[in-house]
Symmetry: C2
Subunit: 201 residues, 2 copies
DNA sequence: TAATAATATTGACACGATGTCATATATAAA
DNA sequence: TTTATATATGACATCGTGTCAATATTATTA
């Protein structure tokens, strides 16, 4: 349709140049130190142009994070219908492992993201949505296991689910910061073992 | 000694006035929106004076947080020598409860602190020190329990300890943000139950 | 006591980042 | 070609920071 629209194409190109420049600057400087000036300079566009395409730094980062966030949602949506304690442990291990592996795979952008969470309530809300998605899923799974007599029914599934995700999340950030001293496998294996032994019958 | 030194007394008074004003501003505006200008205005002192007494916003907050941090260290130092699984659960519950109760008791300042952790690496390091103190203590306790045949020896005590603290810490921040929907007692009871069942024999 | 030294306070200033807006430029439509 | 519309631009106003030479206050010395 508007393939022939040079103006629109130019606009898209400008936007693209800015996004690429912004990514470079974010990775190099971190979220806080990154400035619009650095980005527009690197993209060879005018200062005001940045504000035509985005509302500011936060907006730019959110667009850059979108595919990473999408992958988190995919992990969160992994279905979970175990028939035994052992089967549960296997599935839970895989999910924890996949989750923590994301931290390693996307470390650079996640580092920027972590900084941004502390500064921008907009970005903080984005992460909160991911967190709630996971917790909702986990809690539902626990509930399912309880109904099937696999898990201790006396425990509040929401509280347990949050707690389990919290352990995973904090390990995620440690890995992102490169502050972990154990391998992703060992971490996933150990926390999963304590969790499933503590919850399942 | 220097009780007669009017200059020094005046200096201490100025510092005190600034600290009090800073606290008010921090609580009202949060860490990011709080400005030196607001503080010196409230304290009725000159702008440059603030920089004579403190290096900036971060420095001011750290001084204001010192007694709260001290109390965290006290909780972390609670000794832990259980003789049975049940005894362990009781002690661990108490510690978790005390930890989460701190969040409620110091909610206002902790909210400011949380924001500051995201922005200032200096303050972030302060919290990291508290975290490591807790984790070190917990890991040691696990190790002790393992040596006495109370806990599963095949688990890496450091990984388990970190994971356990992480659950507590995240619940702490939820409580600080007033985003929790379960009582401190229920949270402490539930996460302790899963943890001790998962770890102890 | 007066002069001098030491300490504490001050606000103007330079700097750097943000977001806006009137203007300029490039493209499309008439 | 002329007019209309979409994009791009950078100068500008605003705000917060941290510094520093100047000023005010208190102590010491002669």
């Amino acid at each position: 349709m508007t393939i022939e629209d040079k103006r629109h194409l130019r606009s898209i190109l400008t936007r693209q140049k800015l996004l690429e420049a912004a990514k470079e600057v974010f990775l190099q400087e971190g979220f806080q130190k990154a400035t619009i000036s650095q980005m527009i300079k690197k993209a060879n566009i005018g200062y005001g142009t940045a504000y035509v395409h985005f509302e500011g730094k936060e907006d730019l980062l959110i667009v850059l994070m979108e595919d990473v966030m999408e992958r988190f949602y995919e992990i969160a949506e992994i279905s979970f219908l175990p028939k035994s304690k052992q089967e549960a442990e296997e599935i839970i291990y895989k999910q924890a492992h996949a989750f923590l592996t994301m931290a390693e795979a996307e470390r650079a952008m996640m580092q920027v993201f972590e900084q941004a969470i502390g500064v921008s309530s907009f970005i903080s809300d984005k992460w909160k949505a991911i967190r709630e998605k996971f917790i909702q899923r986990i809690s539902k799974d626990i509930s399912f296991a309880q109904q099937n007599g696999l898990a201790r029914a006396e425990l509040n599934h929401k509280i347990v689910g949050r707690g389990w995700f919290f352990t995973n999340e904090m390990y995620l950030w440690e890995i992102v910061r490169n502050e972990h001293h154990a391998s992703v496998e060992d971490v996933a294996k150990t926390i999963t073992s304590v969790y499933t032994t503590g919850l399942y019958l």
